[in-house]
Subunit: 384 residues, 4 copies
């Protein structure tokens, strides 16, 4: 392995996303041995020293920091990976870029377009490699959808629809804020389901189907007050519990999006469907090894939705894993994103979605929230 | 059978709906032998004498008419069944009601709220039994959904979503207007997918989940011009090819609706889902013997969406048919509606949906079309 | 309708099968108006006069008989339809044939090969049109399977597997014998699941895949004693509650069959699958409007099981019913069989499966039961 | 991490199974940090030095060996993991046990019962911890099935059915023997689908449902000759391409098993279903995050097969991974088996299935092959 170039990672945040990213760094070399770069888990940074150390022990980080500014200041760190709550993304990313570090940031890029813009500016000014973890693109089934679309299989597109349904916040007893629950706290998260879930749907949609031009949205907060973990007091809930919108894509197709955490029976059911003149595609995250495909060019008596088990060696990324029929899981999407980042690094190319691209998704999220508030259509200003 | 009371039917129109209604009248006595009333196929009315006679022969109508006014004038007709294109509903229904006939009308009630209002008025003034064929309510799986909701199984409702997806008008070569294609002609149909498909979704939705208060909609006409069968000329297409809207229900839940005839791969995929605090329900027309049900009160490790094969004798209407596991089809929904109409007749009760109820659905359709045109929210004025 | 030839039906038995056959006779003219022959429900025969009359009233039979010999003796009967328990099939069929009547017999043909042989002989000697109600062949999805196989789509066949799973006899409290329960009484039925359920599987299998050469079987009776409705006493249960066998087809492929009434959760789950060199087919009765089809010749990345919703007008029989996407049900298989019988009658051709063909299925059933008893392989002697 | 006890692994074989085991060793510490033991990848052994070194580099083995006897002789190896073709299992396992090493052996235990017996004897004599990789038990969905059964949810069991369907050997051009294809060579594999695929089915079945008493089987070799990679000559194929059998379990239930590599459309479709008096369970490997469960005690109108997405934190093993709704994959079953082995090691307990238990599965496999050859029932001699 001596011929490998090291990419020394400093990660900020050791929550759920810290685990998924750490796992990706640790596995990528086993499954993508051809990569020139190999990640080294140099340091993990968190505010609680004891827990940060425990995380370092569990995942094999060489050292810990409790102040992210010190992490960024270290000479032995090449890339900063940001896994904090959303409200910390901007400050860390800008400082890291200014220090000449590569930056890998968990999605959404920031809480608002305004907050994200200096991040994009700093990254571009520094000219550092960067990426944002819209990881679902890298599931083999989703990448296969991209390939089918890019090959022109669907023809003119008429419809794109997506939803992301969860049910974990239905109980009014659930508090807001604090560890694991900052997603319910608008100050930390910037929004509710829009930034958390719809951002994924929007990123995938624009990747597959091009820019979203304008939107008309509705949001709702079903549970109006929750105890805040920070204060122990009941406080107004200011996130969106549910959000739905319709829109026009630049290519003339219509979009319909919905997200909620109040859809009883659905844990993390991200689905999308795209209807074209010749063919259609359906996908859902609960059955992520499958892609449903309908091709109208099949002989008429034999037409039907094909349930493709995306586990053959000629399916995207699948030559790296097992044998046909054997499934992979959620975490593999992160391994693939890291692999693509390392490959792009070796080739001197950008790794999509970059900060700049993620900012376009941010614009749609913001237009959606504004539209819902104003009860009117909004242009997104997206340039995809 | 001499103890049965006869209900002498005069039907106007012998197209697709004429067949479904005729079949229902012919079968209801075999499967609901307990009914006091039995329908007698007295007369069928159509403009083309030869084809009307052929239809009469095929379905066992005793006589034919080629002028619906004559049909209505006949003393030996108790009830008029209207299966014409939408633009004929009002005139016929009003005349029939004024002649003291019962009226059974295919949906949608009319092309517009304004057109429908005198129909409702005439029916109410005449005090005649009446019903509108929103037949999908009467599928056992859909009626089971209603029973579960009415029994309070779902608790507070958060979400209702429905779509009705077809793909039969994608080809630009398809003409508009004329027999079988009047649904593409705004003058005959009054609207495109909104009146044809969304009307079904809206009727079911309000039946299951109560009134729809306000809507925000978008429509699209993908193919701008088609040859008109009547003129042989290319003419502007003025129907909505696709329509989607979000809305508030009176009970505080959110609705999301979509309909299109450009969803490649879906022939007549009407689906709905309703998410409650405790339980959720999903349904689709392509698998109409099934109802999907998720109950959060199940033990946590064993929770899952239940695929209920709605073919047991304790399921709605199913004691009338075969044995558990043996499916019924689309046409049975009409048999059930006729059975319910005859039963209600015997009991002196109304058979839902009445003209008055169907007018509420009409109001939602109209608000949807107006909202799409105005690009703004519209109140529906629905009183459910 | 005056140009139609009448086929005057006398039916024996008014149980479950009496209803399915009666419905088929009543509907066939509405949906197959081109047929030269039209059935006339001349007489229904049952032992209980009152209930026979009620059935006649419900289904529109012109007259009743309480002695099937009188029915057969009537000059105004052209065809005898046998819906009795299995132990009555032979005597009635032989007498009917000898009286020159056409014979339509519910499956299985008889209780044993020995009992069936004189039936076949009598039919052949009389030269009367005849058929046996292995109705599942006539579901559009199953007929489509036949067409795909006959078109050579599957190539060399390797495997055929079928099962028929029910769960209605699990309770030990269920009695045997008597109305509705004669299927648990070996004297009336001749066997348990083998004649009742596997007979269907075997008929379909040989129709689709050719003759079955030899079998190795196992049977089981889980509940050893049940109260007999006739005597009121607990008696040994002598039917097979479950039966499974493997076999060789004449074409070299392997078969695997299973049937049981103790598969909790399955009401009437008849399934089959056939695996060929190039393509495979799957089907199940609970979703009878669908056929699953996998074609290895599809482009490798896009291969998947296609779920064909068999409701297009170019699917078998479906031009007679509704529009694409709209389902039909179980009973339609009987309408199709009657339609095919009437068509064959008009053309002077046999309507498969004939008595002679049904006797081949009987041979497999008997070999299966003998194999299970002897715990050894048995040749079937089938000549398909 | 200094407090951990090291378990120094020496692995023999670096094929497909070498990768799955290596991955498991590398990941177990990240996801099961509470374990007292941590595996150290001390040495990998293969005949080809260059490729062995490449594998060592890819997976982080500290050293390589090209002679397994040297590996076993090393003092710095605590446990030997055997990933070779089946014909090498016995010699290596016996030598390792005699050297006092723990032994983890890929399934099937050996080619025959006779070959396996001295392995079991050596292991028992040495008293070393041991396990055999019947990994599918450790999928959360399969372990959940075990828990439901052990909790008595199903009641008396009537039926167990399983099949394992593949389609990768249909082409007659595929050679036998050599790397990746030794599974087609009877000398190396000992049998075809019986040892490769049915062994899994049998292990799961006896784990869930108890011992298999006697069997009646059929095998087939569809392609009679294939080029042997070793000789370059066409040679007779002596493995079983397909195998099916029915059987009795000790608990009185009936079993039906089938395996083939000629089921077009199925890549690795291992399925099982178990039908009990009160409830039933279904599972398949292509959708391994799901378990289907039917409970007859549900209210009658609401009964249906529940599709349990086995990704909640109270599902087996799932507290170690992500959040509800996020899938895991095939390889996780190996991580779980290693975790269970390490846990058992810490507790001084055996880790099932042990060599002794795997020998019982071997007995069923052998009885199956003998039954097929003799065309008669065979007792298995299993003592579960």
């Amino acid at each position: 392995m001596s011929s490998k170039k090291e990419l020394r990672i400093g990660m900020v945040g050791y929550g759920f996303m810290g685990r998924t990213h750490s796992n990706a760094y640790r596995r990528v070399g086993n499954f993508f041995p051809e990569l020139e770069y190999q990640p080294i888990l140099k340091a993990i940074c968190g505010r609680n020293q004891e827990r940060t150390q425990a995380f370092a022990d569990q995942w094999g980080y060489e050292s810990i920091e409790t102040d992210w500014k010190k992490l960024i200041a270290r000479d032995d760190i090449d890339a900063v990976d940001i896994c904090t709550p959303n409200n910390m993304h901007a400050e860390i990313a800008i400082a890291a870029a200014e220090a000449g570090k590569m930056v890998l940031c968990e999605k959404p890029l920031a809480r608002t377009v305004a907050e994200a813009q200096p991040m994009v500016d700093a990254i571009e000014k520094a000219g550092v490699p960067n990426t944002v973890y819209f990881n679902y693109r890298r599931l083999p089934s989703v990448t296969l959808a991209k390939q089918l679309i890019d090959a022109g299989k669907l023809g003119r597109i008429f419809h794109y629809r997506a939803n992301f349904l969860q049910d974990w916040t239905i109980s009014p007893e659930l508090p807001q804020g604090g560890e694991g629950l900052w997603r319910l706290d608008n100050a930390a998260a910037g929004s509710g389901v829009t930034g958390d879930l719809l951002a994924h749907c929007i990123d995938t949609a624009m990747w597959l189907n091009g820019g979203i031009k304008d939107v008309s949205a509705m949001t709702e907060t079903f549970i109006k007050e929750r105890v805040h973990t920070g204060t122990g007091e009941k406080q107004e809930v200011t996130i969106d519990d549910a959000c739905m919108f319709h829109c026009h894509f630049d290519n003339g197709s219509l979009g319909l999006f919905e997200s909620t955490r109040y859809a009883r029976g659905h844990k993390a059911l991200y689905t999308f469907e795209i209807n074209g003149e010749h063919a259609s595609i359906k996908w859902n995250l609960h059955d992520l090894n499958r892609l449903e495909y309908f091709d109208h060019r099949d002989e008429s008596q034999e037409r039907g939705w094909r349930s493709i088990h995306v586990t053959d060696s000629d399916h995207p990324y699948m030559d790296k894993w097992w044998v046909p029929g054997l499934s992979i899981g959620y975490e593999h999407s992160f391994v693939h994103q890291i692999a693509d980042f390392l490959k792009a690094l070796g080739e001197g190319k950008p790794c999509s979605p970059t900060f700049k691209e993620a900012q376009e998704t941010q614009k749609v999220c913001e237009a959606v929230l504004e539209s819902a508030k104003a009860k009117s259509w909004k242009d997104t200003g997206v340039n995809w």
